[in-house]
Amino acid sequence: MKIFKKIFKSNTLYYPGCLSKFVAKDLVENYRRILREAGLDFIELADLEVCCGSPALKAGYADDFKKLAEKNLQVFKEHSVGRIVTHCPACFMIFKKEYPKVFGEKWDIEVTHATEILSKTKIQNSKFKIQNSVVTYHDPCHLGRQMGIYDEPREVLKSLGYEIKEMDLSRKESFCCGGGGGVQSNESELANKIAKDRIAMAKKTGAKVLVTPCPLCYMHLKKNAEGEDIEVKELSHLM
């Protein structure tokens, strides 16, 4: 039946994104499991797919970005991909907002962020112990300001039984973690300073755990929260 469906209907692709695929690998395992538990039937393309092009585009390599997009579209079409699910906000934004600019109507693949699925599903709490069940939530720029996804990740956290203490700057006014736009590699000291100030804002809420659904924000904030009285978690760690 599954094969039948795959032949005659389009596939859903789980696209983990380079940062999770090569660095924060535990996130890929988490999301594979969680998305399956949520009833999602998906394929993976491993090394057939290439980078979505986010770093190239942000560094101004517009032609390289276009080539990556074309390569991906070709691979996606070869595998009858009709929908992409990703947990990476950068990839999500690129597929949903930037690829249509390259391809116009030729880009007909539906793009979904993992939290859009998870907010509609009953998920198990990982039994990750949090004092008072209080967390604070960091809106990734790519997911929030860029794509307008503010509520879904918060709903996931609430359905897991956590109470969210908001920071002074959240949602549309979220304060960047400092890791994006190539700043982490080009201006690492600046990137760390910004992250440390964001950590301070998180600590001000009184929460002992900072949650974000972005591999980039997660890794960058975690690195800069070392020795601080707050723990940084990627959303999937709590599921």
Binding site: V23, K71, E189, L190, K193, D197
Partner: protein
């Protein structure tokens, strides 16, 4: 690599004001019953429409200003603007100046040196400190009252109590006589209308005095401030008040349509009554025309035209992560992402790299807070494209794109444990 960062206390002083501004802006918008999204869309549309007709508007503005006895000089670059300003002020012994970014852009301090007195309180304080304004609307907001008192003491030897009221009282007393002593006042223009009027807004009253008390009033402004009508100009005033300072309307709005005049003696027209006797406008290009070369801005964000929709309210800085660490080190003649992008046109593309093009996280907090919805991050990417074309990008980006080209991901060859040897982020 950025190495000079703002100290913790400075950052805290700035955040205090920013959070107060944020609360005030929200309250003001609610009080006005203004839907910020709708207002911003309409405001941008007004600017877009003005730019579609800019050549015509500019010609009309110049003709009508001249008809209103405001002498207009067009300056192609800083050197030309400085020469015009030098010629106009050569006989002056004292010149009073409003806080104006356009005057700073042409280096008004270099031209007038010790003849020049800044009269906006924050700008005045920073001139005493011998340092750059920290923000176009809040020049000295990073300083505590105590620090300001010390600056005054160091400069004049006067003891001023370290509180806002005493500092303002000192400035009022010190500056009052300067307005009357000065033969020339310099200001910018918040708006220029095609029917020949200059619109200026302020809270302190210093601009009112500058534009009326000395014999000469010299206005320095980029041509992008031209809009069709006075009604459009009032939209700029509203946007500047709300997004600049969080207030619904400034204390003073001046609409200047020429030098003061009277016809009270047998209907004979005399130019020069109680206000300024001569009014001049130095209309600056300084790289602005070059920004139109890549075509108009569209919803897809091509071209650099939309940067010229800027009304200099400084809202783009208020939540910028790089600015909050780097202060005046982030930007060039203008601060923040706007200043970095402008520097490529006012000077050369390398200047954009030096002034912080790679310190921008592209987080879009600037665009989100812009009353004209200017896509600053989009333009920052295009500046990076221009740098790439000249091989001027960072070594890290060269490695990242090399890896991407060869391996299909930014990290390139993995080490034996399957993790990247070097990390490049999005």
């Amino acid at each position: 690599m950025q190495k000079e960062f703002l100290p913790k206390e400075t950052k805290e002083n700035i955040w205090k004001v920013v959070f107060e501004y944020k609360a005030k802006r929200e309250k003001t918008l609610a009080g006005l019953g203004l839907d910020p999204e709708k207002f911003r869309d309409e405001f941008r549309k007004m600017k877009e429409d003005a730019f579609r007709d800019m050549e015509n508007l500019r010609r009309r503005a110049i003709a009508n200003l001249e008809k209103n006895v405001i002498k207009v000089f067009e300056a192609r670059d800083v050197a030309e603007a400085q020469k015009i300003l030098r010629d106009l002020t050569s006989a002056d012994k004292l010149v009073v100046k409003a806080k104006t970014s356009a005057a700073d852009e042409i280096g008004v301090d270099d031209v007038l040196k010790e003849k020049l007195v800044s009269t906006d309180l924050g700008d005045f304080i920073m001139s005493l400190a011998g340092a750059r304004d920290m923000h176009p609307v809040f020049p000295s907001y990073h300083l505590t009252p105590k620090q300001i008192s010390e600056i005054i003491k160091n400069k004049f030897g006067s003891e001023v109590a370290p509180d806002a009221k005493s500092i303002a009282a000192f400035a009022r007393k010190y500056l009052r006589e300067k307005f009357f002593e000065a033969s020339t006042g310099i200001s910018g223009a918040n708006v220029i209308t095609a029917d020949g009027r200059i619109v200026l807004l302020e809270n302190e009253g210093n601009i009112s005095l500058i534009s009326r008390v000395p014999d000469k009033h010299i206005i320095i402004s980029g041509w992008e401030k031209i809009v069709p009508t006075v009604e459009d100009a009032m939209k700029v005033v509203r946007a500047a008040a709300v997004w600049g300072a969080g207030q619904d309307w400034p204390v003073y709005v001046s609409v200047i349509s020429g030098p003061s005049k009277t016809a009270d003696v047998q209907n004979e027209l005399v130019i020069g009554a109680q206000g300024a006797k001569e009014v001049y406008l130095i209309l600056l290009d300084n790289g602005r025309s070059k920004m139109l070369k890549d075509g108009p801005s569209t919803t897809l964000g091509t071209g650099f035209e939309e940067l010229l929709y800027c009304i200099n309210c400084g809202a783009c800085l208020n939540f910028c992560p790089a600015y909050h660490q780097l202060g005046t080190k982030y930007g060039d003649k203008y601060l923040g992402s706007k200043g970095i992008i402008l520097s490529a046109f006012m000077t050369e593309i390398l200047r954009a790299k030096e002034s912080g093009c790679y310190s921008c996280t592209l987080c879009s907090a600037c665009a989100e807070n812009c009353p004209a919805k200017i896509d600053l991050p989009g333009m920052m990417k295009k500046i990076r494209t221009k740098l790439n074309a000249k091989n001027l990008e960072t070594d890290e980006n060269k490695k990242m794109i090399g890896n991407t080209r060869e391996f299909g991901n930014p990290f390139g060859e993995l080490s034996e444990d399957g993790t990247p040897k070097e990390l490049f982020c999005c």
